[in-house]
Symmetry: C2
Subunit: 197 residues, 2 copies
């Protein structure tokens, strides 16, 4: 197998790319050696050596603890618990959360054999005590696994006296009622709020 085929096979493993788009990507890279191919090779090499999981929150960064954990402007009393680093990034893009994060590394799942010891739950409990957290926001998926994990965490946290909250459920921005599922509509209706224009 030559260099080109090997490159295609590796690129085809990326989510969102298959063999066909990997071939197109390789031809694209070959036409843009200086502007994309060489910088991308370098960026991957850099990332492989420099980027690691933050030992405190689980975020990916070149520093450990990560930039969010060490930022003094962050409100350390509020801890947002997420499943994956992707969720942390999504909330950061919204710019709506000034506190810190804790990445669980997944959800509890009896089917997949993921128990509490597979997730970063004990480190979370230890952090909450050590860092004097007063509110834990469970920002977990609105799926069976996500809600199972949320209930488990709420139980574990009940004795600590910390406030446990979760994301609101309702109509997403731009959402058309006609296209929403019944569960979302029921939740949005049950959580209706006074109209303030």
């Amino acid at each position: 197998m030559n260099e080109i085929e090997q490159l295609i096979q590796l690129l085809a493993k990326l989510p969102g790319l298959g063999p066909r788009s990997a071939r197109r990507a390789v031809l694209y890279l070959m036409k843009r050696r200086e502007s994309v191919l060489t910088p991308l090779a370098q960026a991957l090499t850099d990332a492989a050596t420099a980027v690691r999981a933050c030992s405190r929150c689980g975020n990916l960064d070149t520093a450990d603890p990560c930039a969010i954990c060490t930022d003094p402007r962050r409100d350390g009393t509020r801890l947002c618990v997420v499943e994956e680093v992707a969720d942390l990034w999504a909330i950061e893009r919204s710019g709506a959360f000034p506190g810190r994060y804790h990445v669980l590394g997944g959800n509890l799942s009896a089917l997949d054999g993921v128990g509490p010891e597979e997730l970063r739950i004990e480190p979370m409990i230890a952090r909450i005590a050590r860092e004097r957290v007063t509110e834990v926001i469970l920002a977990l998926s609105a799926t069976v696994e996500g809600q199972t994990t949320a209930h488990y965490l709420a139980d574990r946290l009940a004795a600590t006296g910390v406030a446990v909250t979760r994301l609101a459920q309702g109509v997403p921005m731009g959402g058309e009622l006609d296209y929403l599922d019944e569960g979302t509509l029921s939740a949005a209706l049950a959580a209706r709020r006074p109209f303030s224009p």
Copy 2:
């Protein structure tokens, strides 16, 4: 901008990937350092240094002339002319062509300012004489630009005495007549052949 954001920006440039899928790809890579990230970084570095365009046909390979140009089992009297390396690869995957190739590097296009001197046409004419080619197969797109280029090449080759052919047009494999455009149906009907079960 840190290493992760730079990597996302570079990956997002690849065809088939946007900012969103580039982020997913980076998280995927971070979880698979040993199995994918490091090999991919290495494969890109190798490709950047080792892979080049074949000076004879324009194919991408680590050797120059490329493996196809130097393969003695290939029939050097038949030359398949394609627009891009992607087309060459597509025909190679079919396994249906035992000859050699010539990559033009695009199509003639008055709109985009691509004239004959921008394409590898003169090297093609020189090759045909030098390599004693007897048949030139114009495997160009069935688009206005592709057919304009085909006509231009056929004119240029008329005086050389070499046989000039083009790919058949018709119903694609698995194609349902109901979904085919009128142009394809007209071409398929005009080029109908005796039925031999």
